[in-house]
């Protein structure tokens, strides 16, 4: 497509977004694109019955003010012992040949190259992921990612690097309580590229009190110039038990208005799409073929094993969660030989609803028969398909080739719609 036409299209989408709130199409881009070989591998990974592997590294340099992930300031923490415990738990729990691997946290890049190499090597010994996984992501933060570390990651099996930029404004990084500058983020990105990373994600937060829509539009243009394969852009959430939530309640922080949130929501989709980064989930954007397979498996309600404090596993309909405490988790791993603190097995109807809820967050949407099979639901009329039909009639969903996905109208209402599907 000639550049001028592309720009024309973008302008149309953007102005539609700004003037009417809602563009015509909910989703752009094409799911299974990219090379045919890659597409086949991705489809196989998505459909794989083997659980994926998630490893939670529970340390950060400092705690960000909006964050409710389980992580501890690394200073003075027994890092090496924690890696030991992660590996002990992996021995107990990790299943062979995971289709995808995700090292998250926390900040995995905070580990030294030695620890990272040890961790990845041993995980490969235990599971053989280097041969089986189509995608191995490591979450990194700018203050702890340089070329050496990036090279180490790639050398030991990582195929995808995710970098937490969060904002392109120093003041905002300060407000967020981040441990890096804007320059650090660009440097880390360049380092990853220099080390040979070919699949890079950058993380951002929008609709926070300091961000005007004009600024965000300019930021999006700057993000596009980085030419990442993937962008995650989240509307700021005031999570419970975070300083941000407290500040909100105290009136020290203001929520953006619904108009601003919606404007930025649609601008993000339009701008990134214009740069070839198509939304394939509420907050995730990728070049065709570079969608995060690991996360897509979550949204398909597929199986995964989670290792580390607070990590959750979902295997054969059983969901189990580890303690949200490093100390308790490591004691559980060592003494009980199992770190699961809670578990949940949903009845077929509840599982069906959950599958729809998760699936509807994505461009792929939900295929009713697959959802039923996955949930083991076979008792009479499918209430979710019924709800989908109704919502499609009202224009909140679109039916395409036997699948249901949110329409442009339904997108910003995903949760309100999801409630119709849950048990």
């Amino acid at each position: 497509m000639p550049a001028s036409t592309a720009r024309g299209l973008v302008c149309a989408v953007v102005s539609a977004a700004l003037e009417h709130g809602v563009p015509e199409a909910g989703w752009t881009g094409d799911p299974g694109a990219g090379s045919a070989e890659r597409a086949r591998a991705v489809e196989a990974a998505l459909a794989s019955a083997q659980p994926s592997l998630y490893v939670h590294v529970p340390f950060c340099v400092t705690k960000c003010h909006y964050c409710d992930f389980y992580s501890l300031p690394a200073q003075g923490e027994p890092i090496s012992a924690t890696v030991d415990a992660l590996l002990v738990e992996a021995e107990q729990r990790a299943t062979p040949r995971p289709p995808t691997v995700f090292l998250g946290g926390g900040t995995p890049s905070l580990l030294s190259v030695t620890e990272l190499a040890r961790l990845l090597d041993r995980l490969d010994d235990l599971t053989g992921f280097r041969a089986s996984a189509v995608e191995v992501t490591v979450e990194c933060n700018p203050e702890s990612l340089d070329e050496e570390k990036a090279a180490c990651l790639l050398e030991h099996g990582a195929t995808r690097v995710s970098i937490g930029f969060q904002s392109l404004h120093e003041r905002t990084l300060e407000l967020f309580g981040r441990a890096h500058t804007v320059d650090d983020s660009f440097r880390a990105y360049a380092a990853a590229r220099a080390a040979g990373a070919r699949n890079v994600n950058v993380d951002f937060i929008y609709a926070h009190p300091e961000l005007t829509s004009e600024q965000w539009t300019r930021d999006l243009a700057r993000i596009a110039t980085l030419e990442p394969e993937h962008v995650s852009a989240y509307n700021l959430t005031f999570e419970e038990d975070t300083p941000f939530r407290r500040w909100l309640e105290q009136g020290r922080l203001q929520r953006s208005s619904e108009d601003v949130e919606l404007e930025q929501f649609w601008t993000t989709r339009a701008r990134l799409a214009a740069s070839g980064l198509h939304a394939y989930e509420i907050s995730n954007f990728a070049r065709s073929g570079r969608e995060c397979v690991h996360n897509e498996r979550y949204w398909r309600n597929a199986d995964y094993v989670g290792i580390g404090p607070s990590a959750v596993s979902h295997v054969a309909g059983l969901r189990r969660g580890n303690a949200r405490s490093r100390a308790k988790w490591s004691a559980d791993v060592e003494q009980r030989g199992c770190a699961a603190e809670w578990e949940e097995r949903l009845a077929p109807r509840a599982r069906l609803g959950e599958t729809w809820w998760l699936g509807l967050r994505t461009r792929r949407g939900v295929e009713p028969a697959r959802a039923r099979a996955l949930a083991g639901f076979d008792s009479g009329e499918d209430p979710c398909e019924r709800a989908a039909l109704d919502l499609a009639r009202d224009g909140f969903l679109e039916a395409r080739e036997g699948r249901y996905a949110l329409s442009a109208r339904g997108l910003p209402l995903a949760d309100a719609l999801a409630r119709r599907f849950l048990a």
Partner: protein, 601 residues
Amino acid sequence: MDRTLIRNFSIIAHIDHGKSTLADRILEVTGAVDKRQMRAQLLDSMDLERERGITIKASAVTVWHTYQGRKYQLNLIDTPGHVDFNYEVQKSLQACEGALLLVDCSQGVEAQTVANAYLAIECNLEILPVLNKIDLPHARPDEIVEEIENAVGVDATDALKVSGKTGAGVAELLDRIVERIPAPKGSPDAPLRALIFDAVYDEFRGIIVYLRVFEGSISERQVAHMLGTDRVYEAIELGCFTPTMKRTGGLTAGEVGYFISNIKTLGDVRIGDTITLHKGPKVEMLPGYRPPVHMVYADFYPTNNGDFEHLREGLETLSLSDSSFSYEPVTSEALGFGFRCGFLGLLHMEIVQERLEREHDLDMVQTAPTVTYRVKMAAGEEKEIHSPGQLPQPDKYEEVLEPYARITVMVPSEYIGPMMQICADHRAQFVRQDHLSATRVQLVYDIPLAEIIYDFYDKLKSSTRGYGTLNYEITGYKQGELVKLRILVNGAEVDALTTIVHKDQAEYRGRQIIKKLRKEIPRHLFEIALQAAIDSRVIARETISALRKDVLAKCYGGDVSRKRKLLEKQKEGKRRMRQVGNVDIPQKAFLSVLGGGEEDG
């Protein structure tokens, strides 16, 4: 017990004139309660009474007083002063030969002073006027004596001056009670006739019946016959209130006490019923109580539809302790199954609701209080309606009659102006004006009862800084220009919000209701039209715009469980809302609309 040594009396007064506090001093002076156990308004034993500082239910207590070397049994009943609990006063008076008419020496005679005094006069009781709160610096006993004589018409020249606070004059008052209040007349040798004036439910002992014995006597192991319900019960325990229950083994003519048998079924005991001895001589029933007149009606619905039976049990139990409200099952499209209840007034309604919620752990939604209308049908017959929904289509009836009350408002003279304005705003017609004393005036008006129950009383209180007092009595029915005001959400009528209003007020009320609804109904996936309509004519309209954004930014493997539960909880909240047409209305919306009061939206 020698009945010449018994005195039965009630303490009656306007609200807050110090009845319960005087009862405290009497308990103290007679040694019924020792200083350590004393607490203010000891007889107000219900939590609600203590919290609100008012008496809701009459309570009886027996004390002993020695006069000229002889020991007298004084049976005292502390009564409530609020106009809504008038029925309790009437019941108490029927068990007595005398009444202490208490008047607060700084407030003077007020509406319920007069109303309660007349009740006592009707029962032929000996009335002892008592000037209370004599310790107050603003006490003006001489003027008050004049007010009593003017307003009530009893001789108050030798009225005793007492203070329930300091105890001054209380010992003298006890002597005066013995001297002036007649002993009960009934003979202990006649066949038993006792009045059931109250009952309570005790988890372990079943129903405890409160009795006043008029004639004859009864002792434990004798078998009692309740004439009205035609049931027989063996007297397992008999005793009096001191104020705790004290077993005496028997009760004789003139005495007040309790009766315990093995009564488990609530319906088996009726307040006002007569007890005699089983297989004894036939006796006439005592006059009992005249049925209470219900001023207002409202529907109670359990918040949780499954609690209907629980609500029924709650009402049954409560009606034992408060026989003055009525209830019958009703169904509403918006609110499900519930009960239409009749009350003596608004405070009574509020108290019943609170007692149900507390004593029976129920959550309820209550519809707007309404009066009883009479409808003259086109076909000629007349019917009563207790709920706005029952008003037929306009072409089906000729006219609607609404109840009128004659109100007596007593105010300090400087508030006459504002008071008259309020009366004018509420369709009241002036009857007359009397001067009680140099500074106090009594205004008499005729007013539709519906006006009083809406916000008249609040306005009266606020524009007289609390000094104005009100008494009302139903005088009859008059034709009114009344219309049915309906509330529609997306075209569907919310039956629980339908009201009958005067046509001049319909638009204002309609606007108020939908403004409140607008605030309380959450946004839906579609736009919601709120309309107020008279018949089919829409008189006010508001819209609730469609929901625009509701989406979690993040949802990954570790969050699924927690976030799904959150969504499920929200869905559960929605399920508990009431569905009208395609709109979910939260309980809170009903409460806010039905809570009345003025508020701009």
